[in-house]
């Protein structure tokens, strides 16, 4: 089963680190992610720039574009990991060992919704129209 792990971190804490310190943390995190990947627990990861978010939504029937992020917190969303785990306890076990956690990162672990059924139904509806 897939779990989406949203990784948050406190930018101000990073700002206090020297370059060699932050490089060491990054290397440690990537080493662990390599292990996860090798064991088949790691589907993908994307890192995002916490300072660079653009929010779009509909306002009065028009798409409005604003400076993001949509939810403002002290901790910034820094990475999105897709994890492959048997159940929540397994996912927690895998993420608890992620070095980011001991350096202050916070992870929200969310089960990925199974859309197979939704897609199948939608295809039926769309197929019916054509």
């Amino acid at each position: 089963m897939k779990y989406i792990c949203l990784g948050y971190y406190d930018e101000t804490q990073w700002a206090t680190m020297s370059e060699s310190e932050s490089n060491a943390v990054i290397d440690e995190c990537f080493t662990y992610e390599d292990i996860l990947r090798k064991n088949g627990h790691f589907a993908s990861v994307e890192v995002c720039n916490p300072r660079n978010a653009t929010t779009i939504r509909s306002r009065n029937g028009q798409v409005s574009i604003t400076d993001g992020p949509y939810t403002e917190t002290k901790e910034q969303l820094g990475a999105v990991l897709i994890l492959e785990a048997t159940d929540l306890n397994h996912a927690v076990q895998l993420m608890a060992k992620h070095p980011g956690v001991k350096y202050g990162s916070i992870f929200d672990i969310r089960p990925a919704g199974d859309m197979t059924e939704m897609i199948r139904e939608s295809e039926q509806r769309r197929g019916g129209q054509s």
Binding site: D87, N89, I109, R110
Partner: protein, 416 residues
């Protein structure tokens, strides 16, 4: 086999429901992998029992009969749905196969299921209030209305909380497992917290006028006994001991009009000797197992009080020494405050006051009314009613509970 009278069967089914329904539910959740499905299956099984036992007689092993019937009913229900929905057919196949045979469920695996249920209901990924509600509902078998009434919430809000928790278990796939040895200490802690919270909710209501809601305390003690039987870890035994020793003073701690009576003023003849004897035995056992913690130590302190025929005969040196260890295991301002009060009994009010003043000076417990009451009591003993009055008045503004407020008012009146 002759037909049994309807009321005889009803009585038997009711009796089996009372003694076995929680075990059966725990096993059905494992077999079916879903709380809702298992609950429906449980009720279908008991309905079938009512019908069939009157014709065929009561089976030799009612529990196994009901588990098998419940599983069969669930598969039937899934198959019925599957006729409308092809994707459900495969699920029905998974449960099929041996469904019709009367499985011989050994009691070990059934007891494991009860533990699985407890650990799942108390999983730390669930909101704390949801853990309490779910445990009382699924493990203890209380109705949603009963739980809502005990916690002074609306049944609809409580029902929603339970539904949300079950959805999280299903969708996040919280496994139906007893945690492994390395996870056990943390996970067990979460379970003990739930049990003690239920106990305290019954022992001292958090709001409203009634101080004791004994039903919840009784439920917590039953849960504690069950857990101690299934998983005799030192802290499980320690918590059971603590609850029994506190429970032993229930009748003595409030007056017939509902006024709080402090430990030192209680009529010790009213203490329940059976509960004290059992509690003391459990404390001894937990201490002998070494890996004890905060619950066992609090129980040990309660046991010292239980040994004293009157307040003046309390072995305060022993109480203080247990508080010393408790503070090492669980350093918290409240433990520090209780230690200060015990120290004042051993060494005099000055020693206690110095410690309490230090806690307050640090900024801890400033809004905890017991800290100000304790300080007031020590000033009173030192013969300074003005200082005592000021502290009691501070406590009075902080107390929320009706009985607690009246207690402080009485202390103030006695200063005059």
């Amino acid at each position: 086999m002759g037909e049994l009278a309807a009321e005889q069967v009803q009585e038997k089914v009711d009796a089996v429901y009372r003694s076995e329904s929680r075990r059966i539910l725990a096993t059905l959740i494992r077999l079916l992998g879903d709380f809702e499905l298992a609950e429906d299956a449980l009720h279908d099984a008991f309905r079938a029992a009512l019908e069939q036992w009157s014709k065929e007689g009561v089976p030799a092993n009612p529990r196994a009969w009901l588990i098998t019937a419940g599983r069969f009913k669930a598969i039937e229900a899934i198959r019925r749905r599957a006729r409308f929905d092809a994707s459900q057919a495969t699920i029905a196949e998974q449960f099929g196969g041996e469904a019709r045979e009367v499985a011989n469920f050994d009691s070990d695996s059934i007891e494991d299921d009860r533990l699985r249920l407890i650990f799942t209901c108390c999983h730390p990924a669930l909101a704390p209030e949801a853990r309490v509600a779910l445990t009382l509902r699924e493990v203890c078998g209380l109705t949603t209305e009963e739980i809502a009434h005990a916690f002074l919430t609306a049944p609809s809000a409580l029902a929603k909380r339970i539904v949300r928790a079950k959805a999280k278990i299903r969708d996040a796939r919280i496994p139906y497992q007893v945690p492994s040895a390395d996870e056990l200490p943390d996970r067990l802690d979460a379970v003990l917290q739930v049990i003690y919270l239920v106990f305290n909710e019954g022992y001292s209501a958090s709001s409203g006028e009634s101080v004791t809601r004994s039903d919840l305390s009784g439920e917590a003690v039953r849960l504690g006994r069950l857990l101690a039987e299934l998983l005799p870890e030192p802290e499980v035994i320690g918590l059971l001991a603590l609850m029994l020793l506190q429970e032993s003073r229930r009748v003595a701690r409030t007056s017939p009009t509902g006024e709080l009576i402090l430990l030192e003023d209680q009529d010790r003849a009213l203490w329940n000797r059976d509960q004290i004897a059992e509690g003391k035995g459990l404390v001894k056992k937990a201490l002998s197992l070494r890996r004890f913690g905060a619950y066992t130590l609090q129980a040990a302190i309660a046991a010292v009080h239980a040994d004293a025929s009157e307040a003046a005969a309390t072995n305060w040196a022993r109480v203080v020494s247990f508080y010393d260890v408790l503070f090492q295991v669980h350093p918290s301002p409240v433990v520090e405050l209780n230690r200060a009060a015990a120290l004042a009994m051993r060494d005099g009010p000055d020693a206690g006051l110095a410690l309490i003043d230090a806690i307050l000076a640090r900024g801890d417990l400033l809004d905890y009314h017991w800290a100000h009451s304790a300080r007031a009591d020590l000033w009173r003993r030192k013969g300074n009613p003005e200082k005592a009055r000021a502290s009691y008045e501070m406590a009075l503004t902080l107390a929320r509970h009706g009985a607690e407020k009246r207690f402080i008012e009485r202390q103030l009146a006695e200063l005059d």
